[in-house]
């Protein structure tokens, strides 16, 4: 048998393949979110008075149907997908930035500072944290995107902080950090130039898992009517709208719900795959 190494490599190609498939489909979905509105002849807010609550039909001008107000469901869903992706990514970025700084500082400082900072994380973990987010989201200017972003991001940073702190704690024992300290490299520079690049791998993997979480939290708030407001729509607010009319027009629910499920599923698969690649424990 020629190429026995190839044979052994092909025994277990699943992690890599699943990863690639998920990444490709996600890119396709993102492209759809970006350019989907261009594909549709209808603007998301345009009203077709002749076709109120029309059922979906292939070949029809409104192939995913229309809602009660005669708006095209495909155009609306694509717009919702775009908003959900946008808020999900932005909130993930913010929460990772917070978690990264928090975890790196706690892990590097060690001792009492570390104890206190991680105790705060523990306490927040144990609380019904979403409740505080709901309150934040309702109290300040309902539907304002920055408030929404911050409220959601404030949930996501806890796990990142824990992961980064664990990694930093391990890194701190390494000789190159000792060498940097002994050479007089300032603490801020050690954190920025030596710690952060070395924790980047696992953090990137975890970051991919943060995005679907953030998307779900946004949709959760939007479903409760606390998220983005009309005429803007996210997948969550479309689902909540659709749920109200599901008896007479189920496609209003099925379109955004299906989109959300596929999106979260793909992001979860991607994140799991990346974690397997980067997790030092699975790498042995």
């Amino acid at each position: 048998m020629p190429g026995s190494t190839r044979a052994s490599a092909s025994i277990d190609p699943r992690p890599g393949r699943a990863l690639r498939v998920a990444a490709t489909l996600l890119l396709a979905l993102a492209a759809l979110a970006l350019f989907g509105p261009l594909l549709s002849p209808h603007a998301p807010e345009a009203i077709d008075w002749s076709r109120l609550a029309a059922a979906p039909a292939l070949g029809d001008a409104h192939w995913w149907g229309t809602d009660r107000l005669g708006r095209d469901v495909f155009a609306r869903t694509m717009q919702g997908l775009r908003i959900s992706l946008l808020i999900g990514f932005a909130a993930a970025l913010v929460s990772i930035a917070i978690g990264l700084s928090w975890g790196a500082i706690a892990g590097y400082a060690g001792g009492r500072v570390d104890g206190l900072m991680m105790r705060i994380v523990d306490v927040l973990y144990a609380l019904p944290y979403v409740f505080l987010v709901i309150i934040l989201a309702t109290l300040f200017e309902r539907g304002s995107v920055p408030v929404l972003l911050l409220a959601i991001a404030s949930v996501g940073w806890l796990t990142t902080a824990r992961i980064v702190r664990g990694q930093t704690l391990a890194l701190r024992q390494r000789e190159f950090i000792d060498a940097a300290r002994a050479m007089g490299v300032p603490t801020a520079r050690i954190l920025w130039r030596h710690i952060l690049p070395n924790v980047a791998g696992p953090v990137i993997a975890y970051a991919t898992l943060t995005v679907p979480q953030m998307i779900l939290y946004e949709s959760f708030l939007s479903f409760l009517g606390l998220g983005v407001q009309e005429p803007l729509a996210s997948l969550g607010s479309l689902i909540s709208e659709g749920a109200r009319d599901m008896e007479t027009a189920p496609w209003l629910l099925l379109a955004p719900a299906g989109c959300l499920v596929v999106l979260t599923l793909l992001l979860n698969l991607l994140g799991d795959g990346l974690r397997d690649v980067f997790d030092p424990r699975t790498r042995a």
Partner: protein, 308 residues
């Protein structure tokens, strides 16, 4: 030793709860608007009367002290919006329903999830294992606000097996869809944690040694491997409670169940300060207690910790 540990941990809850109450109290008051803002225009003197009747004209710190004193007496205060009703009455009416649903969902998830996880771990790499993994991934992508309406549509409206909405304290069938909605994502976590926990333990040296001694696989799992394998699951039970409580907010909205969850959103939107505070306090106490119970259970099951 264990007893002292338990007592210390219970006492440790108090400052955490106080921190929560304090933070929530001031955050809510920071926000613009008040409980009597969006009512039909009221005369200034009527409004002043209302505010002084509820003690809202006092300085914020005085109100805070007054509120905490009330809490010590077990008084959550009057609702600002539900006339002549106390917060304790409102939450007391809804909470048993929410708690029953949550507990039933958690139980269902554990009863089905643990055996499924064990099965998947024992047949690692088989079609069944991969099928379960895929279903779990799918379930994790199905939040309550998607799963709830979908189940109501399919099972409730189309198949007409169970009512799609509503509540009747005596009729179990109203609880079926809400409990399933809550249980499915939790079950997916349970399956995953059980499977990876068991695989990790089965790969460890002492299990290999036991296998080499000729101990059968069934006895190996039930007698040696299962207890340590379930430890990660046990420590997840705390966060799981918070997860279920969050989900119950949605489930109660979707299925029109008169639980306590709706009071949180409703109270926050109406600036019903005492109602929101009451909800945070009650649900906070529940999650913290469940976290504590999970920790203690973990310590009790883990011989390495128990020795200390």
């Amino acid at each position: 030793m264990m007893m002292r540990h338990v007592v210390t941990r219970i006492i440790g809850l108090v400052p955490t709860l106080l921190l929560l109450v304090t933070a929530a109290f001031f955050v809510i008051r920071l926000a613009p608007g008040g409980p009597f803002d969006d009512e039909r225009p009221v005369l200034p003197e009527v409004r002043a009367n209302l505010e002084s009747a509820y003690g809202l004209d006092a300085p914020l710190t005085t109100q805070y002290v007054r509120y905490v004193r009330g809490l010590l007496r077990g008084d959550l205060g009057p609702s600002f919006k539900h006339k002549d009703t106390s917060v304790s009455e409102l939450i007391g009416a809804g909470l048993p329903i929410s708690a029953t649903l949550g507990a039933a969902a958690l139980l269902l998830a554990l009863l089905l999830g643990i055996p499924l996880g064990i099965w998947a771990a024992l047949r690692r790499g088989s079609l069944a294992d991969r099928g379960i993994a895929l279903l779990a991934a799918l379930a994790l992508a199905l939040p309550a606000f998607v799963l709830g309406p979908l189940l109501a549509l399919l099972v409730g409206l189309r198949l007409r097996w169970f009512p799609a909405a509503g509540w009747d304290p005596g009729a179990l069938r109203y609880a079926v869809l809400p409990v399933i909605t809550l249980a499915i994502p939790v079950m997916a976590y349970v399956v995953r944690l059980t499977r990876t926990g068991l695989l990790e333990v089965l790969g460890s040296d002492y299990i290999r040694a036991a296998r080499a001694r000729g101990i059968g696989r069934r006895r190996l799992v039930t007698g040696h491997a299962l207890r340590p394998a379930l430890l990660p699951l046990v420590s997840w039970l705390g966060p799981a409670t918070a997860f279920v409580l969050t989900g119950s907010l949605i489930v109660e909205t979707v299925f029109g169940i008169p639980g306590a969850g709706r009071f949180l959103v409703e109270g926050a939107l109406n600036r019903d300060y005492t109602l929101v505070m009451g909800m945070i306090l009650v649900y906070g106490t529940i999650t913290l207690t469940c976290n504590l119970l999970a920790d203690l259970l973990h310590a009790w099951l883990d011989p390495r910790i128990r020795q200390h």
